[in-house]
């Protein structure tokens, strides 16, 4: 009796595999709706950096580019190309306070191109800090991709 089952085993196994596969295929064909949980926001940015990103998209990206490479659509109309924020070596040489000062007082105040306006009349001190925090992440993001 045992020998009989042993000889049958491969056949039984094959049938089982077919049943399992067939069953799962049948279920896969109909998409059964499932209970879903809201996804955690995927942003790797801190809340402060997220605030900075919103401001960046509104005021800065036109010239400095969405990804900070200094390639915004208006960058080609400027006398000097805007700063590339993804250049890690050059960004490392700049202090946070200098970046913030450039934002608030403009390029001319620091001996750079006057094409960079002074945003001190528009942005508050805190907003400039948020922006600085976000601009810092641009070099990191680019490094991460490589």
């Amino acid at each position: 009796m045992a020998g009989y089952w042993r000889r049958l085993a491969p056949a039984v196994g094959v049938v089982c595999v077919f049943l399992v596969l067939g069953g799962s295929n049948g279920q896969g064909a109909q998409t059964v709706p499932k209970f879903q949980l809201p996804q955690k926001p995927k942003s790797a940015l801190t809340p402060v950096e997220q605030k900075g990103r919103t401001l960046y998209g509104y005021y800065c990206a036109l010239c400095h580019g969405k990804t900070g490479k200094g390639d915004g659509f208006n960058s080609y109309n400027l006398t000097k190309p805007p700063r590339n924020f993804t250049d890690r070596a050059r960004m490392a040489a700049l202090s946070d306070s200098r970046i913030k000062k450039t934002i608030l007082d403009g390029g001319a105040a620091l001996g750079m191109s006057p094409d960079m306006p002074a945003w001190g009349g528009v942005l508050t001190d805190k907003e400039a800090s948020d922006l600085t925090a976000y601009i810092r992440t641009l070099a990191k993001q680019d490094g991460g991709k490589k």
């Binding site: 879903q36 809201p38 926001p41 801190t46 809340p47 109309n77 001319a108 006057p114 528009v122």
Partner: protein, 657 residues
């Protein structure tokens, strides 16, 4: 017996003592101590050399907010919420991002975040547990709490909530669900003349999957079977059929007119163009040519809520347009056999079954004037207090959901994503919301609470209620005819696609305005949307200019007129100073163009003197953001002399640099 008791007495005493010790240990070793120890370690790290200042005591923290009748112990573990040094720390220690606007002394935590304020173990505090169903809100739904104090019109500060509220109203949810205090809006078109309007095979396909034809439509998918869709279509197509109509215009002229009239400012063709009006690339497979001509002639007569302006085309021009549209914009992917089969399906279908479907599934929630079908009012459950419903009242059906996920927000979110998830055969149609739209609508629904009362001291309405602006008389008729407020805004009413016109009379010169109305051109070189060319009648013109110059003005500008007149704006020396400021000090050319040189962000300033009044230029330079809030212009504290120079340079003719 006595002996046994004497023998085990020492043992029992030891057991009791151990139990006592256990109780003391349990009382001492609170689950939060783990977090407090870790926090202290972080605190020591952050303090660096200044170790003396570390003043940390172990133990529970509680904030009692008497006015809100709440006691929150969240800060027992969330120890860094008001310490800015922890802004990058891992949770639960991170600084609260909004601590400066909402002080913990006044608000506590749970009034916004929900959860169980008195509990300190992780699961009990965050919920839900068997006896506490109010779980802490997921980040995606957090903004529902904003409306508690800030009212339902909060917009910029709670964008998700505002989007959810907007979606709820635009998608016509209010047609089937009562919210007390909100007027019922029926967002659909009247359906009384369907047989004259649309082709039967199109209607069948439309009912089966509206988004396949019009990706931006708000019409939901009822998940009808083939037979059900055919029945409903057959019922709706009763009545007089479309008359034979052969447009005999010129395709070429029609195409030119289509392009010149800038139809794609609002409509899209194969996805390119505006997003205010329907996609047109397959429109001729939907509408009979005669109906296209009627819509172009007067859309408001067919549907009072239509956003399309009356362009004022002549009959011949309409013929040309219809010839072009009905020949060009047909569905090339549609097989003739398929269409014929669908027409057959509809022809053979049961109209009476169709009527029952239309009534049962609440088509009248959105659509008016369906002949032969009764409007049964709002057929969905009332949502006035859905945000404070108890979880036990929500039916999860056969879906098994673990206790920690059984929350009201999660239920609503899944209902939005998949309305028939919990029970097959439910009537609510599928709006095919994206995750983020479903989250936004859930956020809005959660804000609909009965216990909406916070003490008066907490109430701080933000945002503005809808503007009551509705001019009467001739100007009102012009606004209505050309649907100006679809794109422009006046006194906070209208769209934001085009410039705000509230102060246009103070802003532009009459001569420029006359020219612009005849040949509207864009002021900004890169903007894709452009003002359509309307056939504005001469008498309308006069009424328009009169209204602009007398009513759409700003006294802050008008009152400057006297002093601007005295400025030496034609003095070559002053102009030279302005030129220097424009190009060198402020580098205005980084964003503005003059004679095709300069940036593309702001308007072209070559002939700005012909467009703007000197008063406006002077006023604007004082503070560009004072009126145009959306402006991306920096605000400089210009001196009176600098303003004079810049204004003089701008209003005078300019040579190339």
């Amino acid at each position: 017996m006595k002996d046994i008791f004497q023998k085990i007495f020492p043992l029992l005493a030891v057991v009791v003592f151990l139990l006592f010790l256990g109780q003391v240990w349990k009382d001492y070793n609170r689950p939060y101590l783990k977090y407090q120890k870790e926090f202290k370690k972080l605190l020591v790290e952050k303090a660096g050399n200044d170790q003396k200042r570390i003043d940390f005591q172990f133990g529970a923290r509680q904030r009692w907010i008497e006015a809100l009748d709440r006691a929150d112990r969240c800060e027992t573990c969330h120890l860094g919420v008001d310490d800015p040094r922890f802004k990058d720390a891992p949770q639960p220690y991170r600084t609260h991002p909004d601590a400066d606007r909402h002080s913990f002394e006044k608000f506590g935590c749970t009034v916004c975040h929900s959860g169980q304020g008195l509990a300190t173990p992780l699961q009990d505090a965050h919920g839900p547990t068997a006896n506490w169903y109010k779980a802490i809100f997921h980040e995606d739904f957090m903004e529902n709490s904003c409306s508690l104090c800030h009212g339902e019109f909060i917009h910029t500060q709670a964008p998700v909530f505002a989007r959810g509220r907007q979606t709820f109203n635009v998608d016509g949810c209010r047609g089937c669900h009562v919210i007390k205090g909100e007027e019922r809006i029926r967002v659909g078109k009247p359906l009384d003349d369907m047989a004259e309007r649309v082709k039967p095979d199109w209607l069948y396909r439309w009912i089966r999957d509206p988004k396949a034809f019009q990706p931006r439509t708000t019409m939901p998918n009822f998940r009808f079977s083939e037979q059900q869709a055919a029945d409903a279509a057959a019922f709706l197509l009763q009545g007089p059929k479309a008359a034979a109509f052969e447009p005999k215009g010129s395709v070429q002229r029609g195409k030119t007119l289509f392009l010149d009239s800038r139809c794609i400012s609002c409509h899209s063709v194969e996805g390119k163009g505006g997003d205010l009006a329907p996609e047109l690339s397959r429109i001729a497979s939907k509408l009979y040519p005669e109906r296209i001509s009627l819509i172009i002639k007067n859309p408001h007569k067919l549907w009072a809520r239509s956003q399309m302006p009356i362009f004022g085309f002549s009959d011949n021009e309409i013929q040309d347009l219809v010839t072009f549209i009905s020949g060009e914009y047909i569905d090339l992917g549609l097989g003739e056999k398929v269409a014929a089969h669908e027409i057959q399906l509809v022809r053979k279908a049961d109209k009476d079954q169709g009527r029952k479907l239309v009534e049962k599934y609440g088509c009248t929630g959105c659509h008016t004037q369906i002949k032969g079908a009764k409007d049964r009012g709002e057929i969905g459950p009332e949502l006035t207090s859905i945000g404070s419903i108890h979880i036990a009242h929500l039916d999860f059906g056969d879906i098994t959901v673990p206790l920690q996920n059984r929350t009201v927000p999660n239920w609503l979110y899944n209902k939005m994503l998949n309305p028939r998830l919990f029970k097959p055969g439910l009537k609510m149609p599928d709006f095919t919301f994206s995750d983020s739209d479903a989250g936004a609508v859930t956020t809005y629904l959660l804000s609909l609470k009965t216990e909406k009362t916070v003490p008066a001291a907490y109430s701080l309405p933000l945002g503005e209620p809808p503007s009551p602006y509705a001019p009467q008389g001739r100007f009102g008729k012009i606004l209505d005819r050309y649907r100006c407020l679809v794109c422009h805004m006046i006194d906070r009413k209208g769209g934001d696609m085009a410039p705000n016109l509230s102060q246009e009379g103070s802003r532009v010169k009459k001569k420029w305005l006359e020219h612009f109305m005849k040949a509207p051109d864009t002021i900004r070189p890169i903007l894709p949307e452009r003002m359509p060319l309307f056939k504005i009648l001469d008498p309308e013109d006069e009424a328009l200019y009169a209204y602009f110059k007398t009513t759409l003005v700003d006294d802050r500008v008008e009152n400057l007129a006297g002093s601007v007149e005295k400025m030496p704006l034609n003095d070559p020396e002053v102009i030279r100073l302005g030129r220097k400021l424009y190009y060198e000090k402020y580098a205005c050319n980084a964003c503005h163009q003059i004679n095709l040189k300069g940036g593309l962000i702001g308007p072209d300033l070559t002939k700005v003197g012909e467009r703007l009044t000197p008063d406006w230029i002077v006023y604007y330079l004082h503070n560009p953001k004072a009126f145009v809030v959306r402006s991306v212009e920096p605000v400089y504290k210009l001196t009176a002399q600098e303003i004079e120079g810049l204004a003089a340079f701008l209003i005078n003719p300019k040579e190339g640099k």
